[in-house]
Amino acid sequence: MPSPITKATIAHLANLTRLRLTPAEEERLLHDLQKILEHFEELSAVETTGVPPMTGGTAERNVFRDDAERENTNRGAGKESFPETEDGYLKIPGVF
């Protein structure tokens, strides 16, 4: 079976993940991903009809809190480690 990963797939995935890759990296990823996917083929032998997917860790219950006013003690935290700020605002390049 031909690998579902081609050079075009690599370019598409790099765009989805917002990664600028060098030609050498693209070449390497093509090889590695093809090899890894071959290994995954073994899963097609497992009968999973009627088996529900496990989507989390354990004790899956939704956690709610009261919709009440509360003091945020962490306000402003993280500002120091934000790359650019101005007058207390976080600064990013124009979106449009």
């Binding site: 990664l19 600028r20 995954f40 073994e42 997917p53 860790g57 354990t58 480690s81 790359p83 990013i92």
Partner: protein
Amino acid sequence: MESLSTLTIKGIRAGLEAKKFSALEIAQAFFRHIKETDKNIGAYLSIDEEGAAKAARATDLMIASGEKLPPLAGVPVAIKDNMLIRGGSATAASKILESYEGAYDATVVAKLKAAGAVILGKTNLDEFAMGSSTENSAFQKTKNPHDPTRVPGGSSGGSAAAVSGGMAVAALGSDTGGSIRQPAARCGVVGLKTTYGSVSRNGIIALASSLDQVGPFAKTAEDAARVFDVIRGVDTMDSTSAAREYGPDLLEPKPENIKNLVVGLPHEYFVDGLDPKVAGAVRDAIKVLESLGVRFKKISLPHTKYALSCYYIILPAEASSNLARFDGIRYARLPGVLGSLSDIYFKQKGLGFGAEPKRRMMLGAFVLSSGYYDAYYDKAQRVRTLIARDFEDAFRDVDVILTPTTPTPAFKIGEKTDNPLAMYLSDIFTIPVNLAGLPAVSIPVAQKKDDLPIGFQLIGRHFREADILGLGHFYERVTASNN
């Protein structure tokens, strides 16, 4: 003072109470040892002498004024560098976070501080905890204190090496597929992967959120229990954390309860590819446990062989989503990354992430992408259910499951860096536990002094850390008295 390499939490408490040494003297002795030793090992990425001295002095003041000491008073600990400490670096061993500073204390860090622990510094890891050898760090390769030509295992290799090399009494690591147990086995220390939900993940740089758990490294099972008891508990900042009470048997295991445990030996973990030295060491450990009166039973975990594929679909899928946030707009930006929003994203990620995160983000994007989701991601989640059910079925017959922790002892630095699949096989015995959310501990097999360390893994029922740590504790007691 007794040797730093054998000092335990209990030993520190006894020494402090008897005024044999002060907490500050201990901290200073550890920093002296780190400065002498760590240039050859590379366990730490950063140390914090000032912060440690402050914490140690606080303990010394409490002793002077006769106050009751908190459980980890004066205990020097190391923290894996993917956990936040307010105002300190948290690089996750990635260039992309080199200039990032933690904005708050991770819940586990806050709990350690409140318990009186003295945080010595932050330890090396594979970038974003992706790897099995600590060779994937953007900053340095950590070496195994038992043989510096070999890897310490990974991804929490820095924490394992720090405890193994006498550079910390205990340490925190994170375990997504074996990243605590596997380096613990390779460095000859105890490493506990905690039950999913038992310890808050708030303030931990996420790798795969349904698999990640924080846990301790220590020299003994008893010390691991003490650290676990401090860091565990429900946290409103982590909605997957569970409110569970633990009984007194966590810290004080009773021999009569432990010897009544039935231990399962899954034949899928004792396979042909197993290194003969590992197989022999684990057989020796089983004999010791039999002498305690523990009963063994052969069991089967039939879907074990699919765990690796299942894991390497689920993990990259979650990681590609978790790592998307390091876009150069938030957290930190590399020097020279300029331009439009889109330019910044592409340049920052292209320059900032190393080869393994890139590989996994690409793989994750693929298994989640339209047309392939059902064949890979959805299939893997269903297989995950089957793997979890295997354990559920087994735990109807046995209380604990024993396996080797790793298929081989520590390998040579550079041996597997060119072959990602061979590297992934390092975690073949530890991955199923994360998929099922169970607790498991790696206990070093008692061996001759010059042998490379080998660990055996004890897997328990959900929230039954007491069973595996208790069994480990009595194993250590018997082997210590035999020597």
